[in-house]
């Protein structure tokens, strides 16, 4: 009887010891688990803090968009001397349909000096404006000549382009009124006249992205919003890489930029009465017949 009692007591003590050992092991496992979790979470938090500091530094870094410099004569020569045969071969090209000129009814003419006016409103930081300027310079050079163009990189997407800030344009057929409304840091740069602002506001609000850059107003006959050039084809390319591609009709850059320029030229031709003939061949005139009515889409 006493022996049996001792055996049960020993069994009970052994079971208690096993439970204590199991509890201790479980506690150790929990501690290890918590240490591991804490280590991983702490590591991530430290990495994110480093990332936040890097982001603040990057946000305040000026980058390559910096100051404008005079445009390269070689680059400009290549942009403005795309052969008519190449323009014809490219035709509509790969111009972005949503950014093509759209006809408007009852638009206010901005005619000055007996000549129609093409109004451009954009911003230096804007990548779509960066793309459109290549097409605009290409198209407008068929009707006149630029001076004072400067090279910049758009702050957004770092696209090699130009600024119209100090540019002047002379033509016997039309006026060009470029307005770089904001600079590389989205700070106000050039102001619009009341009439210009009225047109800009009229065709963008409501339902369109503001500030709606780039905006083209073809003397009360057409508007173009957001531009017909897809800027992604220009990302990572230098000015000379872009300009030297423009005379190659199979180049994606030429198809985009010259295709857009052809549409812009077609809209201008309707303002100038298809003058000069060299800028308004039948193939270019035909493009204007494909323009949709504003708001029809």
């Amino acid at each position: 009887m006493g022996r049996e009692s001792n055996r049960k007591r020993r069994q009970g003590q052994a079971a208690t010891a096993r439970e204590k050992a199991a509890a201790a092991r479980a506690e150790q496992q929990r501690l290890r688990q918590r240490r591991r979790a804490l280590g991983i979470i702490s590591g991530i938090v430290v990495l994110v803090l480093i990332g936040v500091v890097a982001a603040v530094v990057a946000l305040n870094h000026k980058g390559k968009s910096g100051p404008a410099t005079a445009a390269s004569a070689t680059v400009l020569n290549q942009v403005t001397s795309v052969p008519v045969s190449v323009q014809t071969a490219i035709g509509a090209g790969t111009a972005v349909t949503a950014g093509l000129p759209e006809s408007i009814q009852g638009g206010q003419p901005l005619t000055s000096g007996g000549k129609p006016t093409l109004l451009y409103i954009g911003a230096e930081f804007c990548p779509f404006c960066a793309g459109e300027r290549w097409a605009l310079i290409q198209a407008l050079s068929r009707f006149g000549a630029f001076s004072g163009l400067e090279q910049i990189h758009s702050a957004e997407d770092n696209i090699a382009t130009f600024t119209f800030l100090h540019a002047t344009y002379t033509s016997s057929y039309l006026n060009f009124a470029p307005r770089e409304q904001e600079d590389q840091n989205a700070k106000p740069l050039q102001t619009l006249t009341a009439v210009e602002n009225a047109q800009f506001s009229k065709y963008l609000a409501p339902g369109e992205g503001s500030p709606g850059y780039p905006f083209l107003y073809f003397d009360g006959k057409y508007v173009s919003i957001a531009g017909p050039v897809d800027p992604s084809v220009l990302i990572g390319k230098s000015w000379s890489q872009i300009s030297s591609s423009l005379s190659n009709p199979s180049s994606p850059i030429a198809k985009s930029v010259v295709g857009a320029a052809n549409h812009i030229a077609a809209a201008i031709c309707t303002l100038t009465g298809d003058k000069p003939a060299s800028a308004c061949p039948a193939s270019i005139q035909a493009l204007s017949r494909s323009f949709a009515a504003y708001g029809a889409a």
Partner: protein, 160 residues
């Protein structure tokens, strides 16, 4: 005896009370950004256009659409709809390792997207959007909470 099958391990008790409200905040911000996107509005309450902080510049930039077609705001909304379901109190009650892994994978996807979008804002666009940053912060804390819940799950059904 505790079952060794991971599928039957319960989740930590604080997981739902922490992650569910976070996901609702993220969902609210995403709804607002999606409405702003589709209405074409560029007037963001409390978001000045001061250069470094400019919601309209960010949400109308070329980076505001994935693959040139899918609005980032809509992708964010879909992400938070999924997350609200995955971190709901009902979902946390389902102690299944695969659900935990799917939840963690979704959170990792979200934080990866946040890293990409922050890069786009600070390096490419050079401006930040307050509402987008709000979504990014919520997504980060949601990721941390889900990761912690995953790592700290009780080792046996009796734990907690």
């Amino acid at each position: 005896m505790a079952r060794s099958d991971d599928s039957f391990r319960p989740n930590v008790r604080w997981a739902a009370p922490v992650t569910f409200p976070l996901s609702l905040i993220g969902l609210g911000l995403s709804i607002y950004l999606t409405i702003q996107h589709f209405s074409g509005s560029t007037s963001f309450a409390g978001c000045p256009a001061s250069g470094k902080i400019d919601c309209a510049k960010v949400t109308t930039s070329s980076w505001s659409e994935l693959f040139g077609h899918i609005p980032v705001a809509l992708a964010g909304l879909l992400f938070y709809v999924v997350m609200v379901v995955l971190v709901s109190p009902w979902a946390w009650r389902v102690a299944n390792i695969w659900l935990d892994r799917i939840r963690l994978a979704a959170a990792v996807t979200g934080i990866g997207m946040v890293a990409y979008l922050v890069y786009a804002e600070v390096v490419k666009i050079k401006s930040i959007c307050i509402y987008c940053t709000g979504v990014h912060i919520v997504t980060f804390f949601l990721f941390l909470s889900i990761l912690a819940a995953y790592l700290l799950r009780p080792l046996d059904p009796a734990g907690g």
